[in-house]
Amino acid sequence: MSDTLLIDLHVQYIRNLGNNKDDLSYHMTAHRLINGVYWGLTALCIMKHKEALDAQETIEYVMSCWDDEAGAFGPHPRHDAHILSTLSAIQILATHDALARLNATRVVDFVLNLQQPSGVFAGDAFGETDTRFLYCAVSALSLLGALDRLDRERTVSYLASCRNFDGGFGRVAGAESHAAQVWVCTAALAILDRLDVVDVPTLGWWLAERQLPNGGLNGRPEKLEDVCYSHWVLSSMAILNKLTWIDSSALTRFILSAQDPEGGGIADRPGDMADIFHTCFGVAGLSLLGYPGLDDLDPVYCMPASLIERMGLKTGWKALPRREG
């Protein structure tokens, strides 16, 4: 059990992921690999150790994921393009100031072609639809400076149709409110400057209700706490300027208790095995809570705040003030 963030250990953990030949962990399988690199890189940036993963190697890896037939990125070389991997690719390249490496015209076309008549986005030609993909589309277009090409009205009207009676948002219209879907919908609305679609008092309260007596956050009522909700819930609350509504010391203690004090990394809850996904979101949550020694995270893009500000994309979110360490 640790009461401080073991930064050096986590940096080492992320560095080692590329070297571990026995690691068959779910989040490093080929169908999420580029996402894994994005999670690792983002965590490193927040912990002020961006240099721990070689920039050139990372950029070349991203470019090797280019699917020339589709005009977008897959999760690993020789895999079909998907909107999830395309966003990760854009985020990684932006973080390394290498957006010029990609063919923006083709990527923008790929993204726009995935929009369905209802306004939701599919992830790829398979046709699965989800508000996660809608967020990926909006974020990707914004980062590429092509938001003006989006059919905003159709997109916003679909988001409005996903708003539930409890103020939350679901995966598709009619689906149950879930914190991860709340984040993608709220963040998409923030980018589109349409937070008026959100019932802020009701949703803010629903989000605050996610906190359990042990300090951790769950994703919907009566479910277990999980460190990744430190991102989905907290980022949503930061976007709505309601971060003061939860007990931040209790949550901080919870996240820190989920660290692996030997091997590094953060797990979904104390005692479980660490993975790159929860490491990223645990560190992201701590940054929003003002944990000392970390860099600011932009909760709309889940990328370094200074980068998003430089790109002229900052919106009106509010994190807790950074404490002295």
Partner: protein
Amino acid sequence: MALKLPERPEWTDVVPVPQYENIQPLAPIFYSPEYKDATDYFRGIVKTGEKSPRVLELTETIIRLNPAHYSAWQYRYETLITISASLELELVLTNALTKASPKTYQVWHHRRLLQTALCDPVPELAFNEEVLKADAKNYHTWSHRQWLLVHFDQAELWAGELSFVERLLAEDVRNNSAWHHRFFISFETGNTTRTRDDADEAVRRELAFAKERIALAPNNASAWNYLRGAAFAELYVVDAVEVGTDDVLDLENPAPSEGAELPCAAAIEFMADVHEARGKEGLSEAVKYWRSLAHTHDTIRKSYWEFRIRDAVANAGAT
């Protein structure tokens, strides 16, 4: 498969395409030999565009080893259609795969594609209920159920849902997914078979139902959220003040049951809202309730309750 793919004579015409050829990966994946062979051969048949029965065999191998391989699912579906394979048989296989990996997005999307073609919702709803028996809160399962109801939009399908949800809530009255589904079937506008009278009757029925469940087990966030949602359902405009003081929402009935854990934070919150809605006269009562939450009954959300006090005081001062 007894023999490995490269050793089987019927596959010798296919040129497998390896994962890492002239590529230096940042973080190489080390696969099992069986998975490596299957995906190498998969890349090979995709390259030639082959659509044949052996492609079904190959893609089945891949998705059994890695249910998240969306390209394999996609190519499989295209193959099924191209060679006019039996979708009924495919559904049988998909049922087994669904039970094996119920949290995989791809298997549910495959079901959706199959149902769009097969149009057989009644057994699909029954299968859906079976999957929920193993995990009553599986998000994909519920979402698929909601899609079925709206897509087919048949009165008989909608009609069975209320008793279905009651069965699930009887097993676990705190199942938020079941409460959400109940709201969906009671108020969802995608049900074109419903009349205006049905809608009005739904509000009355649902308010009564929520209150009964709350009386049985008051510490149930889902039920309280539901109560508020039903009271303000867009189909039936209810005045906010009426909800607190009218017999429509008679707060004395039903009374909490014997085993109920009291006091209940959600009830205190509700009372505070009722008093707040009365304006200046209700303010001090509301503040008393919020204070009790901040200091005693829901201390983890102290900041939120203090915000409610400040906010209500400011609004009362402004009027």
